[in-house]
Chain length 272, copies 2
């Protein structure tokens, strides 16, 4: 039974266990232009894996290929443990609706994060504190309103039409759940797809866009995240190229405490 | 029949067509410490897809999860077209040996690269010409000797033992096939795994290391590559973090003509 205290995010990513076939359903609260927000789909797939009785270790890598639009309503997740090793697991997940074609195809790696030498060459990005920045206003896509975006650099400016030269594709942004929720692997996964498409930034306008493939690496264990006890991340994101209808994106998600939580990259289709 | 004119790379990535099950075999010429060089496995999987009669479009994204060591000898590739759209395809490939567990799990996206607005925010790295740099000497791992590495920055220095502080994880390097071969998607794929592990650079020593998951995005079409007519790439690579036995890597592969051919990222296990 749902209670009033359930976070929308947890409601949206809820799954019902099966043996190899799990169930979930899309959430109107995390809806994008033509289907569910890709981040919530990725987080739902990750939740099915984390809650799977055979799962061992923490999420290390998740790749999600968005093969076809997902319609509003129920979906099935075919969850398969492809290979289990002593300290790592390889999973494959297929999302289908009503016995139809695969709409989303994902692979995941879980691993026991054993103590080791640690080194973080990446530098924590300098940023104005979250509290000193105005939240980004609500927009039409419901998913974006579930987040509290506070742009430090690279503010969205999609109303101006194409400028003479492309604008910067870099953004630095604080991201929190609008209704605060402690950061865990699920929200990190979802937030790794929560950047506005870089092509919008480059062209200073909205154009048809869809993520095709998304890969996120987790650089902390569940215990690290639990100990961090944070409810927002500082993220930096950029793009390197847009060519022949496809463009890339790469980002970092940081704990306010200076720890790199995750790196992410994606390639997406655009029409421009 | 093989002739003397076959390039070692094409020999090493050769596959025999089946319906959904293709065959290949490991190559001693591209051997790493405990199994085949990951790049050659990735390129072999890509070759099976490119040569598949149902394949349409150019490779856009390939993710390869290395689940278990591959033994010397023959392997099977179970190749499955998961979803075909009007202008894109989603594939899944499982590599097995002798009917055993899955040793490698890959997903790929192919797409028709239609003309569009183009923009390359990433800057072409400045580098001394290939010809002015001495080739990196031959080493014990045979795969590395199939490449002509010319380090512009971040030379490997693995003999010194661990320094007081970790060394830089950045490298800039020209990569060509030792026996020259025109760059195509297959060699781009293989070269995207041809960086020495960043943990070796950070620690200035060799430690046990294995790539766990590798993702490469192609930013040019086959026609772009064919028109470029190049036989080497300029690559930059770096790492952001090493923590609890896993570390990341991210790289760019450039045409000498200033075009970004591919971006790549991977996460790998290390013992240190």
């Amino acid at each position: 039974m749902l209670t009033k205290t359930t976070h929308l995010f947890d409601d949206a990513t809820r799954v019902t266990a099966g043996d190899s076939r799990w169930q979930g359903q899309t959430s109107d609260d995390y809806w994008a232009f033509v289907g569910p927000f890709g981040g919530i789909t990725a987080a739902t797939i990750l939740r099915a894996l984390i809650e799977h009785p055979e799962r061992a270790g923490d999420p290390l890598a998740l790749t999600v290929n968005y093969c076809a639009p997902i319609a509003q309503g129920a979906f099935d997740l075919d969850v398969r443990l492809v290979k289990a090793n002593r300290s790592s697991q390889h999973w494959c997940v297929e999302l289908t609706q009503g016995g139809g074609d695969v709409a989303t195809l994902a692979t995941a790696v879980f691993a026991e994060r054993r103590p080791s030498w640690s080194h973080q060459p990446a530098e924590f990005p300098q940023a104005k504190p979250f509290e000193q920045i105005k939240p980004y206003p609500r927009i039409k896509a419901s998913w974006a309103n579930q987040y509290d975006f506070r742009f430090v650099e690279g503010h969205p400016d999609f109303g101006g039409g194409t400028k003479d030269a492309p604008a910067s594709t870099h953004s630095k942004v604080w991201i929190a759940d609008r209704v605060l929720r402690k950061i865990d692997a699920l929200s990190v996964m979802s937030m790794s797809d929560a950047f506005f498409a870089r092509v919008f930034h480059a062209r200073s306008e909205l154009v048809p866009f869809g993520t095709v493939s998304l890969t996120t690496y987790f650089h902390v264990g569940a215990d690290d995240l639990a100990a961090d006890d944070i409810n927002r991340v500082l993220a930096v994101v950029d793009a390197k190229i847009f060519h022949k209808s496809y463009g890339d994106q790469n980002g970092e998600l940081w704990s306010p405490n200076g720890r790199l939580l995750a790196t992410t990259t994606q390639i997406g289709y655009f029409k421009a």
